[in-house]
């Protein structure tokens, strides 16, 4: 649908994944450009998280091809994906309550000086990243346990910006948040786009999706089931694609919506 002719940051072609007899994904295509937020929506079990985990290197496809920056790549591990510029915020936040913001941002990839950690340099760039996100975190030295749920999510998102990524994958970033915190997180997602990154946003919440996404990709039973321009798509059309209902048939769709 998009008239963008540039090389996409990520392009996935014909992705297929089976878990035993279950076909989680069948011949799925997805592409994301720079400066673009693509929402991946679908009912529970539609394959959203499975697809995201392949971009993050957590899972590997049985068939299909992944291109990053126009070149075919293999993503055997999260580290490999990270090295290629893919950063992921997992659904269950990977943060340590007892460490401060800087320590969490750099966990697992600490900067070193001669003998020790280079805490000064880490804190300096932690503050820069937090500033770029315009997050409301009081200090880079605040322990995580003193932050609100929204602020913690901001730290998780800021964490993706360490190491200059190109693609950010957010798996249900607003899942357990209050309305106010959700709004805060969504502004962070917009800033990621403003920074020129490609964002893949997985969400159940159509309001969130319509607020920040440029494009909506629907998955249903592990297959592509429609692409929508977020600015113009109607709520009913997207919902129909998610549930597989005919747009007019409200009676048939009602039992699917609950989730």
């Amino acid at each position: 649908m998009t008239a963008d002719q540039r090389v996409p940051l990520v392009a996935m072609h014909g992705i297929t994944k089976r878990f035993g007899a279950i076909e989680a994904l069948v011949d799925v295509d997805l592409h994301v450009h720079a400066h673009e937020v693509v929402a991946l929506v679908g009912d529970n079990g539609a394959g959203k998280s499975t697809l995201a985990k392949m971009i993050s290197g957590v899972l590997q496809p049985d068939a299909g091809m992944i291109e990053i920056g126009g070149e075919e790549v293999a993503l055997p591990s999260p580290q490999a994906a990270h090295a290629l510029g893919v950063a992921t915020v997992f659904q269950d936040l990977a943060l340590c309550d007892n460490l401060d913001v800087t320590a969490n941002l750099y966990l697992g990839r600490e900067l070193r000086s001669r003998f020790a950690r280079d805490d000064g340099r880490m804190e300096e760039s932690a503050r820069r990243v937090l500033r770029e996100l315009k997050s409301r975190i009081p200090s880079a030295r605040t322990p995580l346990r003193n932050l609100s749920a929204g602020q913690r999510q901001a730290v998780a998102i800021a964490r993706t910006l360490i190491g200059n990524p190109r693609i950010i994958v957010l798996d249900e970033p607003t899942g357990a948040l209050s309305v106010a915190h959700t709004a805060e997180v969504l502004t962070h997602v917009q800033r990621l786009r403003d920074l020129g990154l490609g964002v893949i946003l997985i969400s159940h919440n159509m309001n969130d999706v319509r607020a920040v996404a440029d494009r909506i990709e629907v998955l249903r039973h592990g297959r592509n089931n429609g692409t929508f321009d977020a600015a113009t798509a109607s709520y009913e059309d997207v919902l129909a694609a998610i549930t597989g209902a005919v747009p007019l048939g409200r009676r048939t769709s009602s039992r699917h919506i609950a989730g």
Binding site: P78, D92, A94, L107, E124, L130, K134, S135, S139
Partner: protein
Amino acid sequence: MTTDLNTVPAMPPGERARVPLSQRLQGLGGNTRQYGIFGALVVIILLFQVLTDGKLLLANNVASLFQQNAYVMILAIGMVMVIVAGHIDLSVGSVVAFVGGVVAVSIRDLDVPWVLAILIGLALGALVGAWQGFWIAYVGIPAFIVTLGGMLLFRGLALVIVGETVAGLPASFISISKGSLPNALGFVSNADVVTLLVGTLAFVGLLVSQLRARRSLRKHNLHMEASGLFVAKLVLVAAGIAILTVILSFSAGGTPIVLVLVGVLVVVYSFVMGRTVFGRHVYAIGGNRAAATLSGVNTRKVDFWIFVNIGVLAAVAAVVTTARAGAAIAAAGQNYELDAIAACFIGGAAVTGGVGRVAGAIVGALIMGVLNMGLSIMAVDPAWQMAIKGLVLLLAVAFDLINKRRAGS
């Protein structure tokens, strides 16, 4: 749309004047537990100084306070790392007996030079640690079980090796625990000059490291504590070191060798835990093991090395214990694990892991040591001493929990 895009930036540059007071106090609050435990030590020292009519701080008593408690401090350093990572080690007492037995037998029966025997002991400690670390880190058996097994296993091996007391160890070996630095520079009105020099060096070293840390903060334009507070802290520490140094310089021997050993270990391990990537990973594992793994921390490797490390430190404690007794016995190190664990928890380590510091564990060990010595000078029945120490442990942890709960809500 959703919200305004002009929320407050995280940290405006030139922040220092703008940091709100509440936040400054909060920053201070992070350290209150640490200050609290130091305060408790000072209060207990003063209390027993009064109760013992000034005998507690007599020069020779202070020297033997360190000689008697060196093993707890050495074990507590290793134990605090184990506890921070969310584990426990119940085997160190038995490892002390086992390694001490091997060292003593090597020296007396196999005619191994004592320096070499100590190296053998340290290697054996590392091996013991690697054995337990393997089961914990790579097989995934809880440390409680593995080290409970180790407690029996190594006590049994100690009994096998040390059938009867292995005595008659060389004087130079024994002086590790009982000896002091030689009074090579003479005396100034009865004060040992070497001790005064060591104290001065300790303070200068501390001063330099603090100033360097501060300079690094300034270089990166980061927030520093107010210079008044910084100077006040340094003055307090200087006073503490000065008092200890002067008292020790009047003791029979001057500076106990084990005090130097413990001092070096404290500096090294404070650095490891506070300033290295490994230390950061130990805290991360204790805070949220799953998150650490997802973030790319090699949690198994960290777990493994934590136990190798406490194995080596248990071997150091074994050398100190054997030297102090002048002999190896199979019952050596009985309950040492409990002493070390108590020191860690009194020193502010969290039972759930993720929290605890080397300095805290040392202070915790000193609190127990001062209690022991004070009660002994007062000739309190050992049965009551034990009861009192039990209550102190309970109250210290209760106090800590209540404090945390208040701060948390």
